[in-house]
Amino acid sequence: MPAKSSSLHQAAKKTAAKKTAASKAAAKKAAAKKSVTAKPATKKAVAKKPATKKAVAKKPAAKKAATKKPAAAGGKHTPVRVRMYRQGLGDCFLVTFNPESDDAVHMLIDCGTLGAVTTGNEMKDIVAHIGETTGGRIHLMIATHEHQDHVSGFHTLKEKFQEIEVENVWMAWTENPGDDDAKSLMTHIADLGMAVAQAAQALTQNNPSKADTDTAEAMTSLLEFGNGRPDVLQPFLGAAKSPLSAGPTKKLATTVDDGMTFVRTGQVDSAGRPVKARYLSPGGPALEPEWLPGFRFFVLGPPREKERLKNMGKDGSSELYGMAAGLRAAASGMPGGPGQDEGAMPFDRRYWCRESDEMIRETMADYFATENDWRRVDKDWLNAASDLALQLDNMTNNTSLALAIERISDGRVLLFPADAQEGSWLSWHEPKEPFTYVQDGVRQTTTAEKLLNRTVFYKVGHHGSHNATAKGKGLEMMRSESELVAFIPVDRKVALKRSPAGQWKMPAHALYRRLLEKCNGRVARSDIGWADAPQGTQKEEAAFKNLATEAEWEKWRESQGAAQVSIDKLFIDYRLS
């Protein structure tokens, strides 16, 4: 079998081997040299477009195999444009296949924001621009997961989106209302949200300390991801008097939920028919939609294993249970009060005493003395809810639909992991069903590692936070360093303004640096454009002061200048020719 892919793999392996063989320092030097020497070539590539020259020369066999495929018109590779909109802290990507042709295919991944301070762009302009670019017709719409920063636009600008025809809708299996696992997961997520909201509220009652209110605010801030402003706590607190009362928690009507529902059920195709969402599970055969010849979609996540979704403290559920029981006790105002589950109490009823019991007042007089108030622990247990808030965020992020899009003609991969956290990344390498595709009528198997090896464009997960890009089993496997480009959808100013102020690590220092190294500087951020050394006036960037030396930045700037990336006020484009 003269499989093109195998020869490609060999090439990839060769370069990989070269790199590992050399010492670290030597490799770095080599990479630096390479980038300098390679620069004019790539520049030419931008201008004249025989970018494939080098590749073609190296593997003619591969090219022949590829041209057999009908996809690439005229024997060339089908170009792809990835457009990252600059709508603030949130994701909105328009991927257009064959953009210059009349039969361009448009794919929209997410449309949400938590606010845009740096660019000041407004969502309505973004959506209008999407409408213009696509001519009112999107072939594939994807909402990756249920977070405000990914779907807010589908709610706030629903009317605008209703003017756009959508042929296909894809979502993660976790959004499938008919899936039992998804249902129990969503119930759990709703339970977590409710416990966090109620704990946040309880923390701010009865003479809260500064630490209490800070914690409550930070937890609330996280909840906003799932619910959107301004009614963060309201849906939870209004919903039920006693938290986690028996029976499944109802799905809460929030802006985010509304946005998701709109994507799921509100789309109409060009023939006027409502679109039925397709729910995707990881692994198995790659998707090769007939309306997009020449490309394959590998579904990497969300994992179906519950543990992978959580990938947090193993006691997640027992903590939630404890918190809920405690909140019930607190709400009922007395031990064993109405609505309380006696089984959730640590001891039998005969041991329960109340604060008002004379024996307690007497024997524990020290505890109640006002001069000892500083040692009381009335609210400490509520702080555990901060764990729950993190679990909630992590779990929802792990329900992200993570996709690898492969261009069949040359095996290059575009990686869109949405906000998948480490647990999801790790699961890609152990799919229940292996990743397969059909090449020349023969079923082939591939792995996440191979896809990562050939990744040339990486949509950085979760706005560049630390946990959303796996290291050894993620970024380090992206070996196409000579052409790798990373886009980070982030608004650092917005991130730093969240509560607690100045703490949100987006992008995370170490990851940011490693991305710059791996991409040789070709890292673009939706807020500031090309990653660059902080300038004197950029207070938000100051933390990156020691990220790299001036020489490194200089080298990176050169490499950026040669990349196929263009920056506009509303968006940043990447082009794969």
Partner: protein, 649 residues
């Protein structure tokens, strides 16, 4: 026949209450104070009792120091308060001085009785304090009581550590320095629980001996040096964790029953992973990831890169990093244990040293257990004594090794069983050693002082002799509060003396630099001042003054950028100073150990810009973890450092 009325006060002690026989007019009979109080409890945690192999060692009797107790129990060091705000409950405090309880060694172990929980935390915490004091050679004090009116005031005495056995509803327990209290959680085991307990059953962290000992040690260490909670480098919090765990770990070796049982079960190889002794709280450790981490590395082959490679995030996390130190200390212990038992094994095996298959002889098991207990006691003492010799802040594992070696050199003249070498070797194999020593020998690891030409001016040494008066006072203090007050008094006095010396004496400036201080920065603190009595190699007693000198300033994490608007720029606290050990008794004709004056000066120079930049980089780096992504250091770790560290994400 004449009868003399017995004095009212002693009536309760008289065995002849009321009717006194004639002729006993030399005073009433006073029974001796009991040497200890016996209290029943779980040997490790309740789960042992549910397995056949361990059932017989699941319970032990704790022998805790005798003291009069109020309901709580509340005594000299501890007050247990059983408020359960997460369930809206209080539980009646147990009165351990109740005759019915005194007569049966306290309540029998029971998971379902809150009063037993109170007894268990009291017993384990008391035992930990006793072991710690025993190793340290003086009485333990808690962190000072906070003064809401003046945050910097650290002169108020806090007599008791508070213990809340049921304060949280989560699988967590922590020490809170703000309230000088231990908070323990309980939780319902989930059905897919990894540990041995039944799904849906309540698990109480306060019933695990390991956890109680661990948290108590946090409090004890914090009482000795509160700057070990300022995370100025990745080792600091890891050290706190590791130290707490080392004390908890070696506490198990003080129970002969368990030790013997384990020796028999493992045929003397107590390092085995499956050994109860090298595992943290069994019931708890398995079900909560982070806790187990501290002993995860015990018995695994050492790899220096784990500690040295600072790009390896796994070991930047305090628990994993602390695990390396625990593993190193445990390894040192094993080397010592093997050395101590090599002859026994040879004797028992006819010279081959190779045990026959099958069970080992009970006598041999007993002797091995004795040796293990002895070695464990020595290792624990070495570690605890080292605290006095640690730098006052910004500690690294390598410096802890130097402190261990120096303290041991001071305490034991003849290291005939090569304990120090065992430590050095175990640490070196894990890449843990100070960067600034040329060779890894006892001599070069020992802190510098006059013995290698590093000395202060004669004037300063003379000046410090003025503290002799307080030293003799220290010999006679009658209670912990008086000891605390004496320390405050010494700190004030020393501050005055040193301030004048730095300013007026011709040698002042040089001495300030010698002490690691910045002479141009007028403000400094005498953070700690303690008197310790050590035995010198000739058997005489040497009163020592142990000083902690301290300076600090706030530094911006990103210095060049001036903050605009209302948001303050992120800053960190840079600290410097020294630990100074002074011999107050001068026997000039004797050997070096007995001479007066400063013996060691362990410096963390305030003017060290390299160290400052390193700390700045550390403060500016994001530690991994989702918690850090969103909450950062400001929330949680600044307020409750141990709680934040113990939480899972």
């Amino acid at each position: 026949m004449k009868s003399k009325p017995a004095p009212a006060v002693s009536a309760q002690f008289s065995i002849y209450a009321g009717s006194k026989p004639p002729g006993m007019n030399h005073g009433t009979f006073v029974p001796p104070t009991p040497p200890y109080r016996s209290l029943q409890g779980y040997a490790i945690d309740p789960s042992l009792g549910t397995k056949m192999e361990t059932e017989m060692v699941s319970q032990v009797t704790f022998h805790v120091p005798w003291e009069k107790l109020r309901p709580g129990p509340s005594g000299e060091y501890l007050e247990v308060v059983d408020a359960d705000p997460a369930s809206g409950c209080f539980y009646e405090p147990v009165d351990l001085d109740e005759p019915l309880l005194l007569a049966q060694g306290g309540l029998p172990p029971s998971e379902g009785t809150p009063q037993f929980h109170q007894q268990m935390v009291y017993a384990v915490a008391s035992l930990t304090i006793r072991n710690f004091e025993h190793a340290l050679g003086r009485r333990a004090l808690w962190r000072h009581k906070p003064n809401p009116a003046r945050a910097a005031d650290d002169t108020q005495f806090c007599p008791r550590l508070r213990i809340y056995p049921h304060a949280l509803r989560e699988s967590n327990a922590y020490y809170t320095p703000q309230r000088i209290a231990l908070l323990f959680g309980y939780f319902k085991a989930s059905d897919d629980d990894a540990a041995d307990h039944l799904g849906g059953s309540m698990v109480f962290t306060c019933l695990s001996q390991d956890i109680v000992a661990h948290e108590t040690t946090h409090a004890l260490l914090d009482g000795m040096n509160r700057d070990f909670l300022n995370p100025s480098n990745p080792d600091v919090l890891a050290f706190h964790e590791a130290f707490a765990d080392i004390v908890a770990l070696f506490q198990h070796f003080t129970f002969p029953e368990i030790l013997r049982h384990q020796i028999v079960a493992t045929r003397g190889e107590i390092a085995l992973q499956e050994s109860l002794l090298s595992e943290l709280a069994g019931q708890f450790g398995r079900s909560i990831g982070n806790r187990g981490a501290l002993r995860k590395y015990v018995g695994t082959p050492p790899n220096p890169a784990d500690y040295l490679d600072d790009s390896n995030e796994e070991f930047q996390e305090p628990h994993n990093r602390g695990g390396l130190l625990v593993a190193a200390v445990f390894d040192a212990f094993l080397r010592i244990y093997r050395r101590r038992t090599a002859d026994l094994l040879r004797l028992a095996t006819g010279g081959s040293g190779i045990l026959q298959p099958g069970a080992i002889h009970p006598d041999l098991a007993q002797r091995l257990a004795d040796e293990a207990a002895k070695a464990a006691g020595h290792v624990l003492t070495m570690c605890v004594r080292a605290i006095d010799y640690c730098p006052p802040m910004d500690i690294t594992f390598g410096e802890f090794l130097r402190a261990v070696i120096t303290a041991d050199v001071d305490m034991v003249n003849d290291d005939d069983l090569h304990y120090r070498v065992a430590f050095i070797q175990a640490f070196r194999e894990r890449g843990i050693y100070p960067r600034d020593v040329r060779t890894l020998s006892v001599e070069s690891l020992r802190w510098s002082g006059p013995h290698n030409g590093d000395h202060a001016s004669g004037a300063l040494n003379l000046l410090l002799n003025e503290l002799r008066e307080e030293a003799s006072e220290a010999l006679y203090v009658e209670c912990r509060e008086a000891l605390f007050d004496l320390q405050v008094k010494m700190r004030r006095r020393l501050h005055g003396l040193l301030e004048r010396h730095f300013k007026e004496a011709p040698e002042g400036r040089g001495d300030a630099v010698y002490l690691g201080l910045d002479p141009d920065n007028r403000s400094f603190e005498v953070r700690t001042a303690r008197i310790a009595f050590r035995t010198d190699p000739d058997g005489g007693m040497v009163p020592q003054l142990i000083l902690g000198l301290y300076q600090h300033r706030e530094e911006l994490v990103v210095p060049e950028v001036t903050p605009e608007g209302d948001e303050p720029a992120e800053s960190f606290r840079f600290e410097g100073g020294s630990t100074v050990i002074v011999n107050l008794r001068n026997m000039a004709d004797r050997r070096e150990e007995s001479r007066g004056g400063i013996r060691y000066c362990v410096r963390k120079r305030f003017g060290n810009t390299v160290r400052m930049e390193r700390q700045r980089r550390f403060a500016g780096s994001d530690s991994p973890g989702l918690r850090n992504t969103y909450f950062g250091r400001k929330l949680g770790s600044d307020a409750e450092p141990i709680a934040a560290m113990h939480r899972c994400c």
